[in-house]
Amino acid sequence: MTQKPHEKREETKNAYLRAMEKGWNKRIPVAAHFEVTFRCNHDCVFCYNTREDEAGKTEMSVSDYRRAFKMVKELGVLFVTLTGGEPLLRKDFFEIAGAAKEEALALRIFTNGYLIDEEMAARIKKLVPFEVEMSIHGHNAETHEKVTRVKGSFDTLLQAVDNLRKLDVKVNLKSIITRFNEDELEGIVEIAKQKGCSITFDPVISPRDNGELSPIQYATDEEHLKKFWVEIYPKMRNSLLAPVVEDNCVWAVCGIGRASIAIDPYGDIFPCLQWREKIGNIKEVADLKDLWHNSAVLNKVRGIAMRVKEEVLDKVEYGNFCSYCPAVARQVTGDPFKLYPQAIENARHFAVAYETAKKKGK
């Protein structure tokens, strides 16, 4: 019997998860996130990037990226994400992306889509990216633009999606659930469906990179979190809720220091996009493998990720449903082992929805 497209997606997802799991256990970073610029043509109210450190710094050149991609490939990286800021603002973006392709790295591009006209869509198509991800903040221009603070950005986004989809480029829309869009999630799902895109919601807003907490004021409330997990998420997942993971992996709450690595526009290397404690600079590092395995900062964060279960999650109800981020905990509470409100509220509603679905046999 011919395999249905849906089954193919599941097979791919499982293979992707297995790849991540293998990297996880062997401590091989399968994914690298490159913030290629902090410049942006949007001004999102809850953006985690702070641009205060930019003065006097020079973004990495294409030849810096060539060297960096070789180094991360040798470390074991398979997926490279080019993000920002808005990565497409870089005039040499396609040279950078081309350099990643030359190293046979699978390319993901996170963009707001503002610059993707038909011509740019065709150039992106030529890169054969694994995926293009774009943020959508509402189901209409009013809501979306309340967040981006750029007039016309909603229509431009939809046009960008059309331009890419017309060329059969895979697009994943992602949306942070906020006070602005909490009543529009079904509308956003509908847009994704109409455009032939996948959709991912993130119920948690991160503080800014400098630890400033103002983005959290835009977090959604409990009632809407509950609605998301009980009503919307099961529909998106074809009536199946995500299983609680019980596997043979080395236990760690996330892949920090284990499955991924982050590099900013100036070459500074961080354990992840949220934990901004510099471990070196990729332009200066002679042996990235040595740094990866022996950095004191990485060893510290690996240890933290492994101790979260015992020190935090086992002590609270619904802890095993908690998508706990030690970096956000550290930013919000000053302590990576201190539970922050968004994590437990989200876990509680996820758990209730999961139990309900299980009783219904879904």
Partner: protein
């Protein structure tokens, strides 16, 4: 298959799809096919054959390596390699 066909096919150089990204992790090749938005994980032997398909190596040479490394007969190696090539070719993992 006639003898001449077998000889000819053994001289073919199979080539991985040039868009495919892959890493061998823990003895298994994780292959990403971006044009199809797919990720595949190959078996241990499949991973070794995949690694050997460097665009320079003939099927005959791949079979010789598989014979040595897995202690199988030349006939078994050829059957396995050809089946594998057919399978991954159908999945769009090879240059046509």
């Amino acid at each position: 298959m006639e003898r001449n066909d077998t000889v000819n096919i053994k001289m073919v150089i199979p080539k991985r799809n040039h868009d495919a990204a892959f890493r061998v992790i823990d003895g298994e090749a994780v292959v990403v096919l971006p044009s199809r938005s797919e990720v595949k994980i190959l078996s241990e032997v499949g991973s070794r054959i995949w690694e050997l398909m460097d665009g320079k190596t003939t099927i005959s040479q791949i079979c010789e390596t598989i014979c040595m490394e897995y202690d199988v007969s030349p006939e078994t190696a050829l059957d396995d390699v050809l089946n594998f090539i057919k399978e991954i070719g159908d999945e769009g993992m090879l240059e046509s």
